[in-house]
């Protein structure tokens, strides 16, 4: 509801309302003097009529003043606008309708928000007259789109019909900037109408100062789509991988954080995990008001390669994004490169014998989840580490320079390195190359060897059961087996015993850990075979090797992509051989796009910006991809977490953000109720006539 004047300049005429009063005062001052004999009769008459005379006198003054006011108002042509009002003023209108199509519109307006917003936009477009021009701009734009003002209502209505709710946050800076650009031309009336739920997320990033053109004289009316009721408001905040890596038939731990934006606790919320479209697990949970909760899922993947995943929240009347997508890349066999530093003609006597048997007991390719490859230390320089997840050095005497560099890169990128000591290990070489290097690959420099008779071997005293690599030793039998082992030979280090994962009874470390980049390094101070300890013949040896290998392979053993937010840019890293090729991306709505692959240091990269829909994006290389190149197949895009929050920006904050633009917030109901405009000229003419008639009649009676 609003009130305005078509010709406000005439309102200056209101000053003329003082004229009757001025005339009255002047008349009083310009008094004639008359000498008169019958003054007593004048006096008597005045006394007799005094009361009614004064009343009529003032009434006349009021009527005359009113007549001038009515005349000035009549010329200014007042308009009374019921509903939200269409267009103030006269003459052709240049109107920009900004339609909020952010995801929150799905839940606003009691679940009907976007429909009502489109109806409101339709009303505004329908109200255009001949000569008026309008543009329809959705708020979820990248800023590169081109809009123009047009007068064809049908075209605008068709455009409106095509606008859908987007999965992202309203880009108010871009859309409002477009509106001001469009209206940066001469027009008799310029107006901007923003139809929105006033969701906070859209305004968080908004800054008026970043707009090129801002015209504060343009009226900005915000048509507010509000909810009558406050629904339960929750969404998936994050999905992350618990444990190490994603491998076939290995436990897959997924941790999902669910947030509650509302003021009341959400009970009995069903959280469902689906992999490749099949429900794997579901759990009931409760989230405190304004709080978060974590739901853990554990499952297994049977097939190697890419998998799609989805976590869904299920509860009646729940507002907020209920689906979160993620992608999984499950590795098939865990490839382990075993470098044997003390090879023997008899396999049993080889340094790596027990280790390789632990990884692949049957010695056949398909019988184990691990695929160990044994090489001797002479071939280190020529070996590529790219296809391995874990490298194990068993009593390797020295580390060649080129290999150390390769090893560093390997670990940084998520690879695992397990180093076993032994009599052939050259301590100085190790200390120089990997202990004192920058960054160090050993937790501490290696000191002297301690070697005694087997019978006097040290027992294992402490096992860090909280460490992921050793969690399997919570089992009492395995733990007992481990502790029954004797270690009579080991290299001492500068590291304190308490930092070790496994400690001997004398306090010396048996197993130490060092992190580098995305990968990890474990250093076992004793041998991998029976030369310095009897662990290889203990029951605990196999689970120990499996545990350590699985742990070390974590960074390079498959991957989980928790997704990027809608609107964010995705960089897809590829092998360097793809430079110059193109990458085809199939969006969740089946639309396809191709991006070129460019060089990026020792890799190649494809950058894709049009991540405007939530869901799984599929990747392919036209012409086929190189075998074993590890090209990613999928990635996930999710609605921004905060877009699910239904909190609104207050009118005061909004005005503050948009200052000096004058903002008027109108409930959408006002527009829906009609938006009719009543010209008050006719009633004013009536009032003026009545006033003049009354004045004339009263003046006659004097």
């Amino acid at each position: 509801m609003s009130f305005f004047f078509l010709h406000p300049l005439y309102l200056f005429g209101l000053a003329a309302a003082s004229l009757p009063i001025l005339i009255h005062l002047l008349n009083r001052r310009r008094m004639k003097r008359i000498r008169f004999p019958a003054v007593r009769f004048v006096l008597l008459s005045q006394k007799r009529i005094s009361r009614s005379y004064r009343l009529r006198h003032w009434l006349l003054l009021v009527l005359r003043t009113l007549a001038v006011i009515f005349l000035a108002l009549l010329l200014a042509n007042p308009i009374f606008q019921t509903g939200a009002g269409l267009f103030a003023g006269s003459g052709p209108v240049s109107l920009v309708v900004l339609l909020d199509n952010s995801l929150s519109m799905t839940w606003s307006g009691d679940g009907d928000g976007f429909k009502r917003a489109k109806e409101a936009a339709g009303l505004l477009i329908s109200a255009l007259n001949d000569g008026d021009r309008a543009a329809l701009i959705p708020t979820n734009i990248s800023g590169k789109e081109v809009f123009r003002l047009k007068g064809e209502k049908e075209v605008l209505l068709k455009e409106l019909d095509r606008i859908e709710v987007a999965d992202g946050v309203a880009n108010l800076t871009a859309s409002l900037g477009k509106a001001y650009e469009l209206l940066n031309e001469p027009a008799s009336q310029k107006e901007i109408r923003l139809i929105t739920d006033m969701g906070l997320a859209g305004w968080d990033e908004f800054s008026l100062s970043s707009l090129k053109h801002v015209d504060p004289s343009i009226q900005l009316k915000v048509i507010h789509i509000a909810s009558k009721q406050k629904p339960l408001n929750s969404t998936v905040k994050e999905i992350r991988l618990g444990g190490q890596g994603v491998g076939v038939n290995l436990p897959l731990n997924l941790e999902t954080t669910v947030a509650n934006f509302g003021d009341s606790e959400i009970k009995d919320l069903l959280v469902q995990l689906s992999i490749d479209g099949q429900t794997k697990e579901q759990k009931l949970t409760a989230i405190p008001a304004k709080g978060e909760t974590t739901v853990s899922f554990q499952t297994r993947l049977n097939q190697p390669g890419s998998h799609t995943g989805q976590v869904t929240l299920k509860k009646e009347g729940l507002a907020g994004n209920s689906k979160a997508y993620f992608a999984l890349d499950a590795q098939d066999k865990l490839k382990v490169l075993v470098v044997d530093g003390d090879p023997q003609t008899s396999l049993v006597q080889s340094e790596s014998f027990f280790l390789t048997r632990a990884l692949n007991p049957a010695g056949e390719r398909d019988s184990s989840l691990y695929l160990p490859t044994v090489i001797v230390s002479d071939g280190l320089n020529t070996t590529s580490l790219d296809s391995y997840q874990v490298v194990v050095l068993c009593n390797v005497p020295a580390l060649p320079d080129g290999f150390v560099q390769k090893l560093q890169d390997f670990v940084r990128q998520g690879g695992g390195l397990l180093i076993f000591g032994g009599d052939r290990m050259q301590t100085d070489n190790y200390n120089l190359k990997i202990a004192q290097s920058s960054p160090p690959m050993l937790p501490a420099p290696i000191r002297e060897r301690k070697l005694g008779p087997e019978a006097n071997g040290e027992k294992i005293d402490k096992i860090d059961l909280t460490h992921p690599a050793l969690q399997g030793f919570t089992d009492g039998i395995l733990q007992e087996s481990m502790k029954s082992a004797r270690v009579w030979g080991y290299s001492r280090t500068s590291a304190p015993g308490k930092s070790a994962l496994i400690t001997l009874a004398n306090g010396d470390p048996l197993l130490l850990e060092q992190k580098l980049g995305a990968g990890r390094i474990l250093f076992a101070t004793s041998t991998a075979d029976r030369d310095w300890n009897d662990l290889p013949v203990k029951t605990a040896y196999l689970p120990l090797i499996h545990g350590l290998t699985n742990y070390l392979a974590g960074g390079k053993r498959g991957a989980m992509d928790g997704g990027i937010p809608v609107g964010a840019t995705k960089e897809i890293f590829l092998p360097p051989s793809y430079v110059g090729k193109s990458l085809k991306i199939t969006k969740p709505n089946k639309l396809e796009a191709e991006v070129s692959i460019s060089a990026n240091k020792d890799r190649s990269v494809a950058t894709f910006q049009e991540n405007d829909r939530a869901g799984i994006y599929r990747l392919s290389i036209p012409g086929g991809e190189e075998k074993g190149s590890g090209t990613p197949k999928l990635y996930a895009v999710n609605p921004p977490f905060l877009e699910s929050r239904l909190d609104e920006i207050s009118q005061r904050e909004l005005q503050e953000k948009l200052r000096p633009v004058q903002v008027d917030v109108i409930p959408v109901e006002a527009l829906e109720k009609g938006g009719k405009r009543t010209d008050l000229a006719l009633p004013l003419v009536g009032l003026l006539i009545v006033t003049l008639l009354l004045e004339g009649w009263l003046a006659q009676r004097f």
């Binding site: 008597l44 008459s45 009529i49």
Partner: protein, 296 residues
Amino acid sequence: MINGEKNYFDPKVLAGISNLYLRARWVVEGMMSGVHRSRAKGFSVEFEEHREYSPGDEIRRIDWKALGKFDRYFIKEYEDETNLRAYLVLDASASMDYASDGITKFDYGCTLAASLAYLILKQQDAAGLVTFSTRVEAFIPPKAKRDYLIQILHALENRGPAGETNVGKILEEIGGQIRRRGLVILVSDLLDDPEQILKGLRLFRFKGNDVIVFHILDQAELDLPFDGNILFEDLEEANLKVVADPRSIRNTYREVVQEFINEMRKQCHDSSIDYQLISTSTPLDQALASYLSWRG
């Protein structure tokens, strides 16, 4: 300029004649030329009885009608053989010095008094003059001499209006000075306490005088024809001032004045006093005619 007979009595025309004698003569002669055509036969005091003619009686006093009826000579006997004694009492207070258009009330009153004196003296009755304001300014006892008119006119001409009125008190004073009964003609605007005025007039009546009141008012006093905001200042009382918008009070003013006139007329009627309201815009013959109608 005088354009024909109808203008003889126009106060505006009369105002142009400075000589009061000429003015009076103009009026009376003009009027009398009309009167001759009327049924009026002349002036006399009350008829009393007939008596048989006896030698020595004037032939002109024989009642010829009686002779026709009774075939005998009768002479008409009148109550008073002497001429009418008329006192012209003229208000010369400051309030009379007002003219909205042309002639002031005082001038009008003077002309009226002069005309009446001329008429009365012409008919060999006795005419006297009293002028007054707060006190008696001039007292000329009635005489029936023709040349007495000059004296009366002289008194009128020498006296301008001034001072406050105290009609009631003056009338009482004059009443005390009139020894023989006669006709008292009061020419005044009566702008004084009506009770006092009537009290004085009743005193005349009580002493057996006949009384005629010529109530002279300016037309503006009757109509209040002014516009705009006006500060009214009284002609007599310097402190009596009032600001008024005549348009707003005009109707009420007229009612108030009319009430005053009606009251005076009624009270005069009740006391057998002839009351005649005359506006200064009224032609003088009408005023004289009312006197003549009284005279019979």
